[in-house]
């Protein structure tokens, strides 16, 4: 049956090459049409099973919470310049529009207008015309669509000015309330010092966790600003109203801009009008924002700025990974072409092989579009993988055809012999590999499953083009050369030189003769490889898989460094404010959690609000009756100086406690105010202030501080009174920016963000504990840490299953093909040992397993089996005593196909996406390992079998 089919096909190529070409052309057009529907996703959650709770939750969050899709602008430079930059950039970002769809829409609109004209000419119904007009209006609304909905780069100052005290914890209110009771400078400083001394151990406690350490830094930041402003007042220099107000705001509600600890970086959060699912907008939106940013940077050459966050990272990963896959594919094509030209010593056939392969890949992409619809992080590599594997089919066909033609056969006979001799092997090899890949379909992970489908079906597509297109091209080319020769314009047909690898044949013959020695030597090497394989470790560091050199990825490190915030946080949805509050509290109680963010930060429980009210009333009462004096007396001046000295001592003690307590951020902030105790040259702002006061006249000081009383104290009193609102805070009262950050659009789901307390990616133990901890609180939790952990577990577990099933299927197929199980086993021995060699070689070449390259193990079974199959086939065909011929000829073919496959996989090492490189490197050594075990083991086995027959 198979032989009949192959013969018929060979005849079709010889007799009707143009007809075959037409069939291929039509099919190619169809597949090109299909491939246009193919989209790409770079979300790791899309590698998990589609019904995985983490995937479902993650997709829900992206769909329902606008804050989950963010564009973060990271600015670096001098503080005041960054703030100025941010103030100017924010309104400009709001003007960003998407123009990418404009021309398409224009075209569609003009088509609709034409239709309307036609309808009018035909006096059609008015309703139909109105429908078309409505469609035009809807399309036009999509033109120049605003990209950015809102830009958050400051805290919600107005809200905090009204409700700041209601948002303070009861303990903090109790401890700090004295500081809010006197607006006059001397009274304020005295109260501040009293609070610091009373609260001392309280502060020490509160800064023992990350969240509270932040509060201490914020408190010290206000003091730093106070000292700087006092320096101006002390010299009776002009302090603007804005400076005075900024001081009060900083003391009462903290720094409004999103500044880093060292004040050298600032972030702005641009909330787009689209989600991560809008792939087109993901690209055009990021590019529009980037162009506005680039334009703005021209005005600020002293600053650095770039984009990060889900959207820019998604954009960069998609654009650059595709671009990089493009050039890795090109590298692979050039390298394979060069190898074929050198080894086959001909030009045209390798070009035909590559052309055939490219058509095959187009078909494969069309099939992938029809079957899976979307390429994910893993399946994006399909073109390179298919390139490496698919070229083998062409090599076998070309070699066979050239061999028979060189032997003097006519085109028709040579083609038939090629189909009968090489075609059978190609079909068996392709089916075995494709079925081995398709076995990965058993995986519940979409990453692995789709990888199996796309590569398995892709390989079958290339097999089809190799059977339908390549022979036609060869036939036509041969007819053309015959015609050229008949015209006497070309050289006479020369028999091909013997291109077999005699050295390989001789070596294998020797190994076969001395099978005891060769098999023992292989056994020793295999033991060493197994030992190496047992030492290989699994790299759980997700950052090592990410693309290298992308700004958006590198800025993530800047955010970790400057803000101590890992952007790979976990997310969970609460179904009510209360649930969100409880979840946040439960998460904060975990040792592995640094901090949480949720609506309850701005919406404390009723009970908490009630408990805070008496303290706020005390402050209000005290402040209401506190009078603001317009002039500072000489006695007060002395008191002010004493309190400034006392303030320095308090900060010194806070610094010493922070040093012993290991609270580096507090220590660093103290250093900014009073200098470093180990560096006498460091700047001490308070000493500097005291020196200035000591060197200026009493009158000057009195006048200066009286200005403080006039400029700062009334605003301080007014602000504190404003903050003393005791009306309960309600969800509807919260500003839109806060609600959007934590609520969905229907305002009935609430997002809780959970930040890890340690390094997730460099400490695998911490990574596992963090995920265990957060999943113990709620099984609804999602985000990169749980998604990645699940992926590692699923791919690890199902990878093992896939290996087992692939082996079973391959064995079954080979049994069918060879007719006897012993030959199937014989062909599989090099593969089995080759897998150990692969892992051993991975260890020896410094590789680790990753979530990407672990898939190389089931894949190598499908790929590596071919070598053994071809040798065993040839041995069975040639018979006893032909080891040299077998390995000189077929050995050469498998060397060539191994090298081309290695070149294709090896090209992935140059990919910007390091995960691709990991898989490429693993398969590179895997293919090498399988080739080596085939040519080292099979001669020995053959020798032993022939001797014992």
């Amino acid at each position: 049956m198979r032989e009949k089919l192959l013969k018929k096909l060979a005849a079709l190529h010889t007799n009707h090459p143009w007809r075959m070409l037409l069939i291929v052309f039509v099919l190619t057009i169809i597949f090109i049409g299909l491939s246009e529907r193919l989209s790409v996703t770079m979300r790791w959650s899309d590698l998990l099973p589609s019904d995985d709770r983490r995937t479902i939750q993650f997709n829900q969050i992206i769909e329902k919470f606008v804050s989950a899709t963010s564009i973060i602008v990271v600015v670096q430079g001098e503080e005041s310049r960054m703030k100025q930059f941010a103030d100017e950039l924010a309104p400009k970002l709001l003007t960003a529009v998407d123009t990418s769809q404009n021309s398409k829409i224009d075209q569609k609109v003009s088509e609709l207008n034409e239709k309307i004209h036609e309808l009018k000419d035909k006096d059609s119904k008015q309703d139909d015309i109105e429908k078309l007009l409505a469609e035009i209006a809807s399309l036009k609304a999509k033109q120049n669509r605003p990209i950015i909905k809102r830009v958050d780069y400051k805290t919600e100052v107005d809200f905090l000015k009204n409700h700041g005290l209601m948002l303070m914890k009861e303990n903090d209110l109790r401890n700090l309330k004295d500081a809010f009771t006197d607006p006059n400078l001397s009274g304020f400083l005295t109260n501040l010092n009293n609070s610091m001394e009373k609260e001392y151990i309280g502060q020490s406690e509160s800064i023992s966790t990350r969240e509270k350490e932040d509060q201490a830094v914020m408190f010290l930041d206000g003091i730093q600003r106070l000292v700087k402003v006092l320096e101006k007042y002390g010299q009776n220099k002009k302090v603007t109203e804005s400076e005075a107000k900024t001081l009060v705001d900083k003391l009462l509600i903290g720094e409004p801009y999103f500044l880093s600890y060292d004040e050298k970086a600032l972030v702005m959060n641009a909330i787009p009008n689209f989600t991560m699912f809008d792939t087109d907008l993901l690209v055009s939106g990021t590019e529009a924002v980037q162009s506005i940013l680039d334009e703005q940077l021209k005005k600020y050459p002293d600053l650095k700025a770039g984009l990060t966050g889900f959207v820019p990272i998604g954009h960069d990963e998609m654009v650059y990974s595709q671009r990089s896959l493009g050039y890795t594919t090109l590298i692979a094509i050039i390298a394979i072409l060069a190898l074929l030209i050198i080894s086959l010593r001909m030009w045209f056939a390798p070009l035909f092989a590559i052309f055939n392969l490219l058509i095959g890949i187009i078909w494969a992409i069309g099939i992938a579009a029809a079957v899976v619809g979307q390429l994910n992080i893993m399946t994006q590599m399909m073109a390179v993988i298919l390139l490496g594997l698919g070229i083998d089919f062409s090599i076998h066909i070309i070699s066979g055809f050239k061999e028979w033609r060189a032997a003097g056969d006519s085109i028709g006979v040579a083609m038939e012999k090629t189909f009968m001799k090489s075609g059978k092997g190609v079909v068996t090899g392709a089916l075995t590999t494709a079925l081995a890949f398709l076995t990965m379909m058993i995986s519940s992970s979409r990453g692995m499953k789709e990888m199996g489908i796309v590569t398995g079906l892709g390989l079958l597509a290339i097999l089809l083009t190799t059977m339908l297109l390549l022979p036609t091209i060869l036939t036509l080319w041969e007819k053309f050369t015959v015609w050229i020769r008949s015209k006497g314009k070309g050289e006479a047909y020369q028999k091909t030189r013997d291109l077999s690898f005699n050295f390989l044949g001789k070596t294998c013959e020797s190994l076969s003769k001395h099978y005891l020695f060769s098999l023992t030597a292989v056994a020793i090497v295999t033991i060493l490889m197994i030992w190496s394989a047992t030492n290989i470790t699994f790299d759980q560091n997700y950052l090592n898989i990410e693309p290298k050199g992308l700004t958006s990825i590198e800025l993530q490190d800047t955010i970790i460094d400057k803000f101590d915030l890992d952007m790979n946080y976990a997310l969970v949805i609460g179904d009510s404010v209360e649930e969100s509050r409880t979840l946040a509290e439960d998460y904060r109680n975990l040792g592995t959690v640094a901090r949480t963010e949720d609506i309850s930060l701005y919406l404390p429980s009723d009970l908490k609000q009630k408990k805070r009210i008496p303290h706020i009333r005390d402050i209000k009462k005290a402040m209401k009756f506190a009078s603001v004096r317009s002039r500072v007396s000489a006695n007060e001046l002395l008191k002010i100086k004493q309190e400034i000295e006392r303030l320095e001592m308090n900060i010194m003690e806070m610094q010493d406690m922070a040093y012993i307590g290991g609270q580096d951020r507090v220590d660093d902030k103290c250093k900014q105010i009073i200098g470093s105790p180990t560096n006498s040259d460091s700047k001490n702002l308070i000493k500097q202030l005291l020196n200035i006061l000591n060197n200026s006249s009493i009158n000057q000081q009195i006048q200066g501080f009286s200005h403080f009383q006039k400029g700062v104290s009334p605003y301080f009193k007014k602000s504190v009174m404003q903050m003393c609102t005791t009306d309960p805070i309600d969800l509807n009262e919260l500003p839109e920016s806060i609600i959007d950050r934590y609520c969905n659009q229907s305002r009935n789901k609430f997002l809780v963000t959970v930040y890890p307390a340690g390094s997730l990616w460099t400490d695998s133990d911490f990574f596992r504990r963090f995920v265990d901890d957060i999943e113990s609180v709620s099984d609804k939790v999602t985000g990169m840490p749980p998604v990645f952990r699940a992926l590692i577990d699923i791919i690890g577990r199902e990878g093992r299953n896939a290996i087992f099933f692939t082996l079973v299927i391959v064995f079954g197929l080979l049994w069918l093909d060879f007719g006897k199980p012993k030959y199937a086993l014989m062909a599989m021995v090099p593969l089995g040992i080759g897998v150990f060699w692969m892992v051993g070689l991975m260890y020896l070449t410094g590789q680790q397993f990753t979530v990407m390259n672990v898939m190389g193990l089931p894949m190598i079974i499908g790929i590596g089996i071919d070598d053994g199959v071809h040798i065993v086939h040839r041995w069975l065909h040639e018979g006893k005593g032909k080891v040299r011929t077998i390995f000189a000829s077929t050995g050469k073919a498998i060397l060539l196909t191994s090298l081309t496959t290695m070149l294709a996989f090896g090209s992935l090492i140059f990919s910007i996406w390091r995960g691709f490189g990991h898989l490429g490197a693993a398969l590179f050594v895997g293919v090498a390992g399988c080739f080596l075990t085939t040519v080292l083991i099979l001669p020995g086995i053959i020798g032993w079998m022939e001797k014992n027959k």
């Binding site: 020490s204 001592m649 040093y659 012993i660 307590g661 951020r665 105790p677 180990t678 400490d763």
Partner: protein
Amino acid sequence: MKNIFKIIGSIVVIFPSLVFGQTVTGDEIIAKVNELMNQKSSYAVVKMNIETTSGQQRTFEYESWSKNGGEKILIRYTKPRRAKDQAILMLNNADDIWAFFPRTNRVRKLATHAKKQKMQGSDFSYEDMGSGNAFITDFDAKLLGEEEIENYDCYELELKRKDGVNSSYSRLIIWVIKKNYVPIVIDYYDEDDPESRVKRLVQYDIQNVDGIPTGMKIIMYNKQNNTQTSMEFLDIKYNVKIDEDLFTERRLRK
């Protein structure tokens, strides 16, 4: 609850012959542990290693004096230079805590609620550092069995917090070396969740110091934060004469 200086304490009043071969109860074992831990006084030079909030390791050295079975403790830092002469005084089993700052020459009373908090960035709490007979007064002991741990034959005890007691831990599991009653390993369980282990203390390098078996190195593993604090005794003496006056605010200033 437990005193580090008591943990490394003596077994002076131990009569192993009375114990071996006889059935013992949890109460009896913990009484022995408590007894050996409650040494009259001690002096030590300690090297402590902590992890800072930015993930760096920081090493300190300090001298410490304890009296009345750890009811009074004074710690004075000697290294590094930045911390030199800073001192902490804990009285009434760490209910009252004072600190001295040489840069300002001021002594500050720290609030008592700090007892449950981390001591100076370490994984030990002030409560861990000194609390007299807490093993007996605050917990009910039960012998769970015998087990070999850290290469020692041990009794495994469970200590459950008594009702109304204000301790940071709901229960403890202690492995006590049979031959000398040294609590070689202690697991601490969350204040609210008796199933959740928050810390583990392990003593290493048990040596006889003045006839008292002493773990020369103690490591507190904090399971919650994934951090650990090690305390290594560079020098230790028991039952030394210490002036009562040392444990006063005045002497805190040195």
